[in-house]
Symmetry: C2
Subunit: 440 residues, 2 copies
């Protein structure tokens, strides 16, 4: 069988453009309404996406941005990912459901249990995007004055993921006997007490949720720093990457696949999905017009707030001047990538914030269906990426434009499958069952 | 308008009888399957129940019971309540969704956010059953050697509930402006930073979920100890009580309504729902037969495990002898109630475990539709209870027998309403909106 592209749909808010709520066609309150997401999910499933993907932050990160920005963003009002995906599981049948949960301010038993429950409820369609929390705004909601340092929060994340995986392995797939005649429901020899004792967690187990048709939820990871790559190499089956050009994609892919080999894992046994926010037009000029028209809806305070978390407060600098060096020396890998890109393209502050606010950090691609498909094909055929995580500028409309203009052409070229390969997320991504690890 | 009975449906596992999975009509794996609960929820909604209710424990409490009991129970395999109710919200439209979450091993920000999300997703039908965790088996899943002491875990619970309520009040109902023309989405003066600083929690807020059509989730409580009553008097709008006779119901009601007055609350401004597990027959003899037939499915190890948490290991005592004094002196109020009842009815150990295992601690009533309705009417008209939380022995079958034989007669007598009063849980329970507390 040919290698086929995998597709995620990132569906936060009204789309990934900062001012999508101001678009004439947008339902500005949709980001807080179940009906909005149900429509998005149904469209994505009809189009054959492998999975819905929900990023997350635990609290309002922008509450300390300039006040104007807080008033201007629709990305403060939200629904909690696991709750939302659980509800969406009941109105979909094939599409995967991947929710972000932080290892920094959670307990592994809760995470293991909730995701295993979603996995059973959905018939084996759940995935866990493993993240660490890095913002002060989140720390303040959990009794801390500052967020955990980089090394410490990743050490916690490694152990957290070990515990979750261990709990998911606490039931043999054949543990439930349910023999009405003898009265034996459970083969207790197939239930394993984990008894984890580590520096961050002591968790006894077993979990109270048996395995799903896909064994347990798919593990997803999205960080590109060294510790993020290490986490991915240890646990991830899917990674969500944010390369802004093919060179970044290559470098990321080499680092990740190298790290997999070091861990004794198959370097191809992971799906790399690159974030993409396309602005599609019948001509290049039309696509550019669409992009410019949406950016015209971004007020400057809002635009600057998109640089705030990565580059600090730039409101004292001229909007149409060059991007200055970061004020805060604790620059994260994502910030360094942005600066490099801005310099290489001679971007002004306004152009940079438009670029980011147009896709919330995902790669913005402006073009015709053909140019976009060509580029996707090129990326895919290098082997540096295995598919794409669509981060539509405007929801639900931009699913339609992707489904109508991009996917059919990819299918015509034999790069994307038609319909679903199976009913579980693993089956659709071509990932193996994790059955090996169950109690002997 | 006449005062009407309120109804909850407690829907854990395959029903509240310990051996329900062995019943010839049972789907023994249903307790881990969404389809089972979806059928239960649809039946309950068709019958007009005010709310679905899910009890919870975080882990397998019986893992240390005699091994036989662990093998014999279907109550180890479970789905996490909030995940399950979120999924059920998408297949129902009017029924309330009340999930238990412990204040002992959670963070208030997570609980506030997840329940507020379910409340929005369901259009204002969520409720939070506030509990504390008292078992060692749960403590071991969260890094502790023993569970928190009684006083400490209730002090934590009071503060936890304060924080959750405070976070729910962090959005004014009119905070979202969504004015596309000016670009103002949010009236920031209607968003409140909580800044809670207490002995157990420091939580800044605000929450990232705006209010639902019922303001925020209904607060529910189920403990009958002094500290439990205090928690109910501070926060609860609904209580779930487990009186085994009218005298216990009276005593509980007087304590609770007295405590409400002491807190300056309307003593009638709370709904007391009494747990009830009916065994219904066309004649008394038929009902008794039904009860006996189900109890014949309980193996002794399983039966004794139902006394284990409250009364300790009684396996050394003769099954058909009297109930001994508790081995463990840390007797909880629920245990004392059981012993009192067993003594007053001259029950043997086997009779007591049958009685408990037949309803998992809720009041077992064996009778004809008329005798059961008479008793429900008597209880309701004393004013000691405002309704009932049905804990069916066998799901989904026993919803049908209740809907077909009990509810029509209650309606005929003008004690139960027909259809739903509104689309939110508050509207159906006749509870006021909590709007008073929103930022001025």
């Amino acid at each position: 069988m040919n290698r086929m592209m995998s597709f995620g749909l990132s569906m936060r808010y009204l789309g990934y453009h900062a001012a999508s709520w101001r678009h004439p066609d947008a339902n500005p309150r949709g980001g807080m309404q179940f009906a909005h997401f149900a429509e998005v999910a149904r469209k994505a499933e009809a189009a054959g996406f492998d999975m819905l993907f929900l990023a997350d932050g635990i609290g309002i990160r922008t509450v300390d941005s300039p006040v104007g920005a807080l008033a201007q963003t629709a990305q403060t009002a939200d629904l909690e990912p696991l709750t939302l995906l659980s509800a969406l599981s009941a109105v979909t049948t094939n599409i995967g459901l991947v929710a972000t949960a932080s290892t920094t301010y959670n307990e592994p038993f809760h995470v293991a249990r909730k995701y295993a429950s979603l996995d059973r409820i959905s018939g084996g369609r759940a995935g866990w995007n493993i993240v660490t929390s890095w913002s002060e705004a989140e720390a303040w909601n959990f009794g801390r004055d500052t967020h955990l340092g980089y090394a410490e929060r990743y050490e916690r994340a490694y152990e957290f993921a070990d515990v979750v995986e261990g709990l998911w392995h606490s039931w043999g797939t054949d543990a439930i006997v349910a023999d009405k005649k003898t009265g034996i429901f459970l083969d207790t020899s197939r239930l394993r007490v984990l008894n984890h004792k580590g520096p961050h967690f002591r968790v006894r187990g077993p979990l109270d949720v048996p395995p799903s048709p896909q064994g347990h939820p798919v593990m997803v990871q999205a960080g590109a720093s060294d510790a993020g790559i290490e986490l991915a190499a240890r646990k991830a089956e899917v990674v969500y990457a944010l390369p802004h050009d093919l060179q970044m994609a290559e470098s990321y892919s080499r680092r990740l696949r190298g790290a997999l080999e070091q861990h004794g894992r198959d370097p191809r046994g992971i799906r790399i999905l690159a974030g993409i926010t396309p602005y599609i037009g019948a001509t290049m000029a039309e696509a550019q017009e669409k992009y410019d028209a949406m950016n015209a809806l971004i007020l400057p305070e809002l635009g600057l707030s998109y640089l705030y978390a990565q580059l600090g407060d730039l409101s004292a600098f001229p909007l149409d001047g060059p991007v200055p060096d970061p004020v805060d020396p604790r620059v994260r890998s994502i910030a360094q990538g942005l600066i490099t890109m801005a310099r290489s393209r001679n971007m002004t502050i306004r152009q940079l914030y438009n670029f980011i606010a147009a896709g919330f950090g995902s790669r913005v691609v402006i073009g015709t269906p053909e140019s976009i498909v060509d580029e996707m094909q090129e990326w895919f055929e290098t082997g540096f990426v295995d598919g794409f995580n669509l981060c539509p500028a405007l929801l639900p409309m931009d699913i339609d434009s992707f489904s109508n203009h991009i996917l059919p052409e990819l299918r015509r070229r034999g790069l994307a499958r038609t319909g679903y390969a199976g009913s579980t997320l693993r089956a659709n991504l071509g990932l193996p069952m994790p059955g090996c690890c169950y109690p002997a």
